[in-house]
């Protein structure tokens, strides 16, 4: 089978500022799928003021951004197009 690709997939970083935002983030994983938590390992481990990094597939990034904005949760995007960064990780000559 062909390898999974991550074109236009994004990695978000948020830092919940209160319990309401913590709960929102915990629920996000049940509303939007798939979400792959890079840090912490799962949504259950999210606590207030923790930097949370998570991967969202390309087809869900607009939804996630909209939900974060609607809930006034500040976010940054660590990876805009994950596939490009995957391709950059290894020395191009060797690839």
């Amino acid at each position: 089978s062909s390898a999974r690709r991550f074109d236009s997939a994004k990695v978000f970083r948020v830092k919940p500022q209160n319990e309401k935002q913590v709960n929102f983030m915990r629920n996000l994983a049940t509303v939007i799928q798939p979400i792959d938590f890079w840090y912490p390992d799962s949504a259950l481990q999210i606590v207030n003021q923790m930097e949370v990094d998570f991967l969202v597939s390309a087809d869900q990034t607009e939804n996630v951004e909209a939900l974060l904005k609607d809930n006034n949760i500040h976010y940054e995007i660590l990876f805009q197009n994950l596939q490009e960064d995957i391709d950059k990780q290894l020395d191009n000559k060797r690839n």
Binding site: R4, W38, V47, D53, L78, I86, D91
Partner: protein, 307 residues
């Protein structure tokens, strides 16, 4: 593999496999290869025993690559073995360490997952066990150890990234590690497990906020390790007990090792803090391994002199 093994590049499993074979064959006086089990997909799991004394009373166990996508972890284990051999005759500190204690290095625990992360899904975390009746594949090996298994943050859902398996040590990769450690428990004084990312030096407990009896000692050692790391390139590593420094978790290997009586048990979370995450570029492999090498040597000297 048609590609050449390199310590400053990420190597795939065929490259690592042939490297394990080669390094043991070329350095028989210092290195021996031991098969400790097979993976779910029946790949051999190897351990490299590094040290001059065959019957040394002290040993440090190091495992790498429990989580498949954390590629810098097995890169470090390969680097460590290379540096140990290279500096044995040149660095009096390394010579003293290897003359008086052994290292048991598992270069790659989760081989099946690692292969999958190279070929099918770069961000695969678990192993490739499909023993559950569910369609979802894989167990988080770092939730599969028999220490308050299946509680705290572990999931019983096979589709979750932190699925802890059907029972403690249900996975052959976990069993291979625990069986070897059990059979060498009298000599193993320290356990180190290498992960990424987030730049931390952690110690038990993870499954409770309670402090371990030797908390002050472990905290001091973690602080010293972090200081050693920072001395080279200025990278700041946080340190502390797992539960309070990151988050509570259960079924983790460092807690398990501690509960077996290995009172110097540490988890290293290598570079970086999110800029690259699991995609740490190859250009940072060397620096990352060099700084962690200092920390491991710092801990090894303590174990050698104090335990």
């Amino acid at each position: 593999s048609t590609c050449k093994h390199s310590y400053t590049k990420y190597n795939n499993w065929p490259q690592i496999y042939s490297w394990i074979t080669r390094i043991a064959r070329k350095n028989p006086e210092l290195v021996s290869r031991i098969k400790i089990g097979n993976t779910f997909e029946n790949r051999p799991i190897y351990l490299l025993k590094i040290g001059k004394q065959r019957d040394a009373k002290k040993a440090i166990f190091v495992d790498c690559g429990i989580h498949a996508r954390e590629w810098i972890s097995p890169a470090f284990c390969q680097w460590f073995v290379k540096e140990a051999i290279r500096t044995y005759g040149k660095d009096s500190s390394m010579k003293n360490i290897l003359d008086n204690m052994n290292f048991y290095i598992v270069p790659l625990v989760n081989i099946d997952g690692y292969v999958w992360s190279w070929t099918q899904d770069r961000f695969w975390r678990k192993n490739r066990s499909n023993a559950s009746s569910n369609a979802c594949v894989g167990v988080d090996l770092n939730r599969n150890f028999d220490v308050l298994w299946g509680t705290v943050d572990a999931s019983k859902n096979p589709c979750e990234e932190v699925y802890c398996g059907s029972s403690p040590e249900s996975e052959p990769e976990t069993k291979a590690v625990t069986t070897f450690i059990h059979s060498h428990l009298s000599s193993i004084k320290a356990y180190l497990t290498i992960h990424s990312y987030s730049q931390m030096v952690l110690f038990p407990y993870g499954y409770t906020y309670d402090k371990v009896p030797n908390y002050n000692t472990l905290n001091g050692l973690a602080k010293g390790a972090a200081k050693a790391i920072a001395s080279l390139y200025g990278k700041k590593y946080k340190y502390g007990a797992s539960a309070s420094t990151i988050y509570p978790s259960s079924g983790c290997s460092d807690d398990w090792a501690y509960e077996q009586g290995i009172k110097y048990s540490f988890t290293f979370e290598l570079r970086d803090k999110g800029k690259y995450g699991f995609l740490l570029p190859e250009s940072e492999i060397k620096e990352t391994c060099q700084e962690i090498m200092l920390a491991v040597k710092f801990l090894a000297n303590y174990i050698l002199n104090q335990t």
